[in-house]
Amino acid sequence: MATAIGLAGQVDWDVPEQTGLWKDAWVRFRRNRLAVAGLVVIVLMIVLALGARLPTAPGGLWRILHLTNEPFLQDVTNSYATPSLQHPLGTDILGRDQLSRILYGASISLTIGIVVQFLILGIGGSIGMAAGYFGGWIDNLLMRFTDIMYAFPDLLLVLVFVAAFGPSFWSIFIALGLVYWVGLARLVRGQVLSIKEKEYVEAAIMTGTSPLKLIVKHLVPNSLGPVIVTLTFGIPAAIFTEAALSFLGIGIRPPEPSWGVMIEDGYAGIFADPRQVIFPGIAVALTMLSFTFVGDGLRDALDPRMRR
């Protein structure tokens, strides 16, 4: 083949088998069993939550399939029912089916956990990118502002925002976004500062790459790995904060069955029926644990130093 092309020079014709960057990361992710288990749980949870929400909620697909009941349907004659075929996890004080409420609550918790990350990415990512890329007084200004935000206790700040906006799904969403971007901004700034020093960025500038293209094609893709990991760890944090807020009574309002609301409801009658707290508690713990495992797995998989 070499002669057919008419090469006078010496050619390195061979290269080891192809390993795409993301494919490579996926292979390493798969080696971590806990992470894979976490991912399975999360996917399952998302499917269940979607099913509970999508086809003409409340209760959704599962109600139509007669797998669970209507999450808002009260039956005071049947309060604190023990688990049975009809109510697999029993009922609460108002006789509402616990399983359907937990599944419905999953949709709220997961939505908050995941969607908030986009807000965090938007705020923290752009502030960090601007600070790292421009440097100088812009960096100084943005980072001092970040430090100030960082100095406040997270939960207190969330409380302030929620109180200001009035309790609702959207105010929690915005409050969490406005508070939790700080860590990401610092991370992205650090990433950008270190990537800016790399020779491939100099090379890109030398080949005439414009500043905008430099950010989009080089700085963003190369800082993505740690950002994804941080956001993954951010999901359980947001879910937990939402649960805490709802538990304190300033988050999601009843009768919407967020997990925090359910724990608060059950807390009143914890001695009468501890299941009221245990089942939603397990749901919160399982979700948080799964995301944490996935985050761990991603961190190892996306770290270029881990490459063979």
């Binding site: 090469l7 020079g9 010496q10 390195d12």
Partner: protein, 363 residues
């Protein structure tokens, strides 16, 4: 020459990785006499460093010495008990590394670290060790040694750190010093000072030295005998003068002609070795060098040669040998590195583009 100090016999060191067994050292036999300086040369991944680490039984995981004997004054290092090997390291054999910063503790004073190296082996009493530290630093020509013992490693420059490392290596008066690329990280003028120092120490103290390097010039400067390694094997061995004057293995020959000499006006292209070193989990059949060898014959592809005597004290692992290679084949080994056809196409493109720019500028 003196008596044999270190004798390595058929050493195999392998790494058991997820991709398979890496034969890093694959049947190496060599010896070092007392007071001698031996150069071990080769490119990265040829097994020279792993050979040295095997002597000290410091092969990192997942590597293992799988067979062979390493005799130091008749004692087999591979069979030593843990306590014995600890005593052996440092007091009989010392090693200095390429980057002294990684082997010096950054939070401990330099003097104390050298002192510790001595007291750990119980060769010197604590009070004697203290006075010897200054002596040692003076010996390796650290200026103002009396005050510098109280400095931390970061207060030393690169060259001074390497001197301190050598001082620590010499602390227990070992009979063999293994130096792994001791000057590679240093600037040329500093490098010259360290080479000078190592020469002097070898002469004054009679410490034998095993110099591991990729730099042929360094070997020419410091060593009496040289071993050339490729893909875990010794391909050539002999006295330095002989190897440099008439290398017989094509790899040795290429190595010597692939680096320009500062004392020669440019007259010739460099010899470049095509391709890459082999994957040691799956080495090529026959001679390990044959896929890259410019003088390959059919036999090289199927049958591996053994180390055969090619001159007095000189052995080489080759079916062809450089003395049998014709002039025109040597010339072919320096062929163009470019694809001429691709170059012409690119040039045509450039001219077309330039013409376009001109016509735009003209209009």
């Amino acid at each position: 020459m003196g008596q044999t100090l270190l004798q390595i016999e058929d050493l195999h060191t392998q790494f058991f990785t997820s991709r398979g067994v890496v034969r890093a050292v694959d049947g190496v036999s060599l010896h070092i006499d007392a007071g001698e300086t031996l150069g071990v040369v080769g490119e990265s991944g040829c097994g020279k460093t792993i050979t040295a680490l095997s002597v000290l039984r410091l092969v990192p995981e997942p590597g293992k010495i799988t067979s062979g004997r390493i005799l130091f004054r008749g004692r087999d290092v591979t069979k030593m008990e843990d306590e014995e090997i600890r005593d052996f390291r440092g007091s009989d054999v010392a090693m200095i590394f390429q980057d002294p910063m990684t082997s010096l503790n950054p939070v401990t004073k330099v003097g104390f670290q050298i002192e510790e190296a001595m007291t750990a082996h119980n060769r010197f009493s604590a009070s004697l060790a203290k006075t010897r530290v200054v002596e040692l630093l003076k010996r390796v020509r650290v200026p103002a040694a009396e005050t510098r013992v109280k400095d931390y490693p970061h207060q030393f420059s690169g060259g001074m750190r390497q001197r301190a490392m050598i001082a620590m290596g010499l602390a227990n008066e070992p009979s063999l010093l293994i130096a792994d690329e001791p000057t590679t990280a240093l600037d040329v003028t500093v490098q010259a000072q360290i080479i000078q120092l190592m020469k002097q120490l070898n002469r004054e103290l009679g410490t034998a030295m095993m110099l591991i390097t990729h730099n042929m010039a360094l070997v020419a400067s410091l060593c009496q005998r040289v071993v050339v390694m490729y893909a875990g094997r010794i391909v050539e061995e002999g006295p330095v003068e002989q190897i440099f004057r008439s290398p017989q293995h094509p790899y040795t020959w290429s190595l010597l002609r692939s680096v320009p000499r500062v004392d020669e006006a440019r007259k010739d292209r460099l010899v470049s070795i095509r391709g890459l070193p082999p994957d040691l989990t799956n080495p090529p059949p026959g001679c390990k060098f044959h896929p890259r060898c410019p003088f390959v014959v059919d036999r090289c592809r199927v049958e591996e040669p053994s180390l055969g005597e090619v001159a007095l004290n000189q052995v080489a692992r080759c079916w062809v040998l450089m003395r049998n290679v014709k002039e025109e084949d040597v010339a072919a080994a320096k062929a163009s590195a470019l694809s001429i056809e691709a170059a012409q196409k690119l040039k045509a493109d450039a001219e077309a583009a330039a013409a376009e720019v001109d016509s735009v500028a003209g209009s």
